[in-house]
Amino acid sequence: MNKKIPVIAKNQKIVYTAFIIVAIILFVLTSLYTKFNIFTLLKNSDEFWSFIVNDFLPPALPKASSIGGVLSSVLVTLALAMASTTVAAILAFFVALFGSEKISPFPKLAKYVRAVATFLRNIPALVWAFILFSSLGIGTGVGFVALCITSFAFMVRAFVETMDDVSNDSVESLLTVGAGFPQRVAQAIVPSCLSGFLSWFLYCIEVNIRASTIVGMVGGGGVGLTLFSYIKGFQYDVALSIILLIALMIIVVDRITAMLRKELQK
């Protein structure tokens, strides 16, 4: 009489079980390999908390003479992200036209364009920064180029996907009436994909604000470098207020891009 009715379908249950088993196996393997033990971490947590409470809290302002420098370093980070993303977007737009088989005047080359973009994209921005630092020297310009490379490659992929998703009918109909490559781009691609492109551009801005902070830490300049120098100088309370400043900067930028995205999709 009291037979239980299973709430979850059987085949679904198998998927869950498989997922959990795989997760547990991976957990054991990686825990053994890295020797990471959550309990030793928790056992030592007193030290950890005392460190946070004594050294980081409360956040302190940097010396009055260096506040201006901190603020201008935030501006450098913002400018770095803005300029590199825009330059990368313009380049990516033209390259992406050659990366989509439907639009490109040389469809056979499209594969290779995408392959180059895949290669550039899958190497993290910081690795690019290091490679470029060793050839171009340290500086804001190099950070700019490193950010450009990854966001360029990312946008090429995103733009090609946008074009492949949207523009089939209009491109084909223009092709049958004999429109040339520039006409196809201007009349079919730009009107139908532009808001999609710009939405990806905004996403890239969000990513690059974070990335430019990080690239700054290893020598690209900006607020990342300021933070790094305070941490290296053991001024953790000042470092904390700079972290708060970075968080504020990123939250504000995210809010702005979210607003713009809504406006673009109207």
Binding site: V7, Q12, V15, Y16, L26, T30, S31, Y33, T34, F36, L41, F48, F51, L75, A79, L80, M82, A83, T86, V87, T118, F119, N122, I123, P124, L126, V127, F130, I131, L132, S134, S135, G137, T140, G141, V142, F144, V145, P191, L198, A211, T213, I214, M217, V218, L227, F228, I231, Y236, I243, I246, A247, L248, I250, I251, D254, L260, E263, L264, K266
Partner: protein, 278 residues
């Protein structure tokens, strides 16, 4: 861009059938887009001027990029054991932090989802706390953990966990909140407890999304983890940065190649999983 097809264009020409060109254009254009693009361009130009980059100096050194790449491409297989174990360590850190964050993310996602916790101020507080955690980039967290916990993979796992948990909390809470209230109410009416409502209705409904978020995060976590070494934690990033600084380009090149291959494989895997779910 102003060549829209208006009614007057058609009617004035319909009388005499002269071969006047009818311009093609989309009628309802978003007026905001051109303004937005001009604004972006202006901002970019201002930024470039503000950055004041010495382009001539960079352009003069461009040939050196070629030399560095030439050297990087001459792989040195002498240290392959070291590189291999560094890569394994990086992957392990990425996966381990992902698993810890998955559990934490589900718990905190539950707390942050308004339809499950049912205490509004509590969910809002949880969400805003994690928004702050998410706004600080991962390497900064790792750097702080390095300071607190000392060198080693612990700092990497803990630092990655902070950001990943914050990310999962937000996305899982979104998935949970998109579950219809009818489903939850139907179970609550039958007298099911809070916890079993969660395991029997919420988790199954959000499962495919959880998998998608996890796959996406694995991609990010690996590339974040690969750069952690550069700020001082272990793993492959440390191998790359140290070898580049010591001009041992062959070893660094091989390590970069490994990073690329693994990142590419994860991306392919994720694309395959995404296709299967859809």
């Amino acid at each position: 861009m102003e060549n829209t097809l208006t009614n007057s264009d058609i009617y004035t020409d319909s009388g005499n059938l002269s071969p006047r060109k009818i311009t093609v254009g989309c009628k309802d254009k978003n007026k905001f887009i051109p303004r937005f693009m001009i604004g972006v361009l202006l901002l970019a130009v201002v930024s470039l001027v503000y950055l004041n980059i010495d382009w001539l100096k960079i352009a003069g050194r461009i040939p050196q990029i070629g030399t560095v790449f030439f050297k990087l491409a001459h792989f040195d297989f002498g240290n392959i054991g070291l590189i291999g174990s560094a890569i394994l360590e990086t992957v392990s850190i990425a996966v381990l932090s992902l698993l810890y964050s998955l559990v934490l993310g589900i718990v905190f996602g539950m707390l942050a989802a308004r339809n499950i916790t049912k205490i509004k101020w509590f969910s809002v507080a949880t969400q805003s706390f994690f928004t702050f955690l998410r706004a600080v980039p991962t390497p900064i967290w790792v750097l702080l953990m390095l300071v607190c916990l000392g060198m080693g993979p612990e700092a990497g796992v803990a630092g990655l966990c902070v950001h990943t948990t914050a990310f999962f909390t937000k996305s899982f809470a979104q998935s949970f909140e998109s579950i219809s209230d009818e489903t939850l109410e139907a179970l609550e009416v039958t007298g099911t407890g809070r916890l079993s409502v969660f395991t029997n209705a919420v988790i199954p409904a959000a499962f495919s999304q959880i998998i998608a978020w996890t796959g996406m995060r694995l991609e990010t976590n690996f590339s974040e983890c690969a750069i952690l070494g550069m700020v001082g934690a272990g793993g492959v990033g440390f191998v790359i940065s140290r070898n580049l600084q010591n001009y041992q380009y062959g070893t660094a090149g091989l390590a970069i190649l490994f990073v690329f291959i693994i990142a590419y494989l994860i991306e392919r895997l994720f694309v395959a999983i995404k296709k299967k779910i859809q």
